[in-house]
Each structure stands twice: as structure tokens, then as C-alpha cells.
Subunit: 138 residues, 2 copies
């Protein structure tokens, strides 16, 4: 299974959702699928602009907004200042370390409600904050 094949799969993935599979969009999608570190726009930009020097942050913002609207990614607001993006898999909770700043997945069941107290629920986010395993060791 070469690079061609996997890129074709990504192309198909986007087309199935009515999105034109441009080069940049494919690369951003690939990055999100292979880096489950809840990257920010900044970190995606830093990583991809090495290989794609012409890539702009505007394109990343545009692409992520498009992906959000199609449900391809989730936006995490666990960070006070900047948005983080998570490729959409099964619902799971997130843990943010206040020391090293990383955001980690934790397997903790989310209450999956259709409605609560008369309000229609569309998204559920469970955020934990504290000190991660690695930082505790120091």
C-alpha cells in the first residue's frame, strides 16, 4: 500500500463529503489523521510549511472551518486562548496538562444525551485539567 493509495483514500474521503480534494486540503487532512495531538493552527502550519513553503495560515483556517462544518474534525476549546482540532472519531474526554501544555486523550465515558432539561444537545465535551503523568515524575 504505497503513498499513492493512501492519498487516493483521502481524496475519496473528502469527495464523499462534497469537498474538492485540493492538494492543501489533502495534506491538512492527512496531518490531522496521523497526528492525534490536538494540534493548533500554529502547529499545523509549522509542520506542513516545511514541505509546502507556499502554504499560508489563511488556508489552514479556511480548511479547518470547512472541515468543522462537515463534521470531519472537532474543535476543542480546552485551551484558554487558541482552538485545537481533533480528527472526529468516537467521543472521548480530553486532559490538559497545565505544566507542559499538552492535551491528551483519556478514556472516560461521556454522557451522550439527545436532550437535557428541554435543550437539544448537539455536542458534548469533557475537559480535565491537571498535571500529567510525565510532569508528575519531575
Amino acid at each position: 500500500m504505497g503513498e499513492e493509495t493512501s492519498m487516493n483514500k483521502l481524496r475519496e474521503y473528502l469527495e464523499k463529503r462534497g469537498i474538492q480534494p485540493s492538494f492543501h486540503r489533502l495534506k491538512i487532512l492527512e496531518y490531522l489523521m496521523t497526528h492525534r495531538t490536538h494540534p493548533t493552527v500554529e502547529s499545523i502550519y509549522k509542520a506542513l510549511s516545511k514541505d509546502i513553503p507556499t502554504l499560508s495560515k489563511t488556508t489552514i483556517y479556511n480548511t479547518l472551518k470547512l472541515f468543522l462544518s462537515k463534521g470531519i474534525v472537532w474543535g476543542l476549546t480546552i485551551d484558554e486562548n487558541e482552538m485545537r482540532y481533533d480528527f472526529n472519531t468516537e467521543p472521548h474526554a480530553h486532559f490538559k496538562c497545565v505544566k507542559c501544555g499538552r492535551v491528551l486523550d483519556v478514556s472516560l465515558e461521556l454522557p451522550l444525551l439527545e436532550s437535557i432539561e428541554g435543550h437539544k444537545v448537539m455536542e458534548t465535551h469533557l475537559y480535565l485539567k491537571g498535571i500529567c503523568k510525565d510532569c508528575l515524575k519531575r
Copy 2:
């Protein structure tokens, strides 16, 4: 029980936590205790500057940062762009309506963990997003 008495209670509340009870701090604390609408810096500023024309946003930022560090308020990042502040009572979940923008309390039990997967947990936030009861009616 007059206004004097309740202000004295607030003064006592701050002193007990090692905070000098300045006039501005008392007013901001009073606002947070009586307005459980998860206000932003902007909305606190708009509300209080009517009575206190000299009040600046910097002071509100300073005061909220101080209150956060003392555990008097919680910072909610349910909003993508701006921080909301919640007077610290028992843990509870929050619901944000994507139509009207309000953030409401909902009574839903939070998983209160001391640690998970080796990480030390210090804060837990459960955020729901959707369409509120009132907006559904329209």
C-alpha cells in the same frame, strides 16, 4: 439586612482568602455572586461602569485573575473566543446555546476524579452545546 451588612459579608469573604477588599473588588465579587449568567469581562464592564464610571477593563482582568488564582471563580472556555467566569459553587455542567449564545447551568453529574490514567486531575469541565429550550420554540 441592609446593603451595609451584605457588603461587610463580602469584605469578610475576601479577607478570609487573603485578598484586600478594595471597592472595585467588592463590586466585581458582588456582581459575580448575584449574576449567575457566566459573564464575560465585557459584560461585567458594561454592567458595572454605569455606576462606577472610572472602572477600567484592566482592573476587571486583574481582579478576575486574582479571583481565579484563589479559587473564588472558575474560568469557562466553552466560548470559542472569550473567557466566561462562574462564581465557584458546587461542580456542575454547562450548556451553551449556539443560537442565542447564552451559557446555562445544567444539573448533570461530573465525574469527580482525583486522577486518571496516572494524571493528577485538578479541574473538571463538562460542556454541552446545542439549541436551548427557548430557541427551540421559535
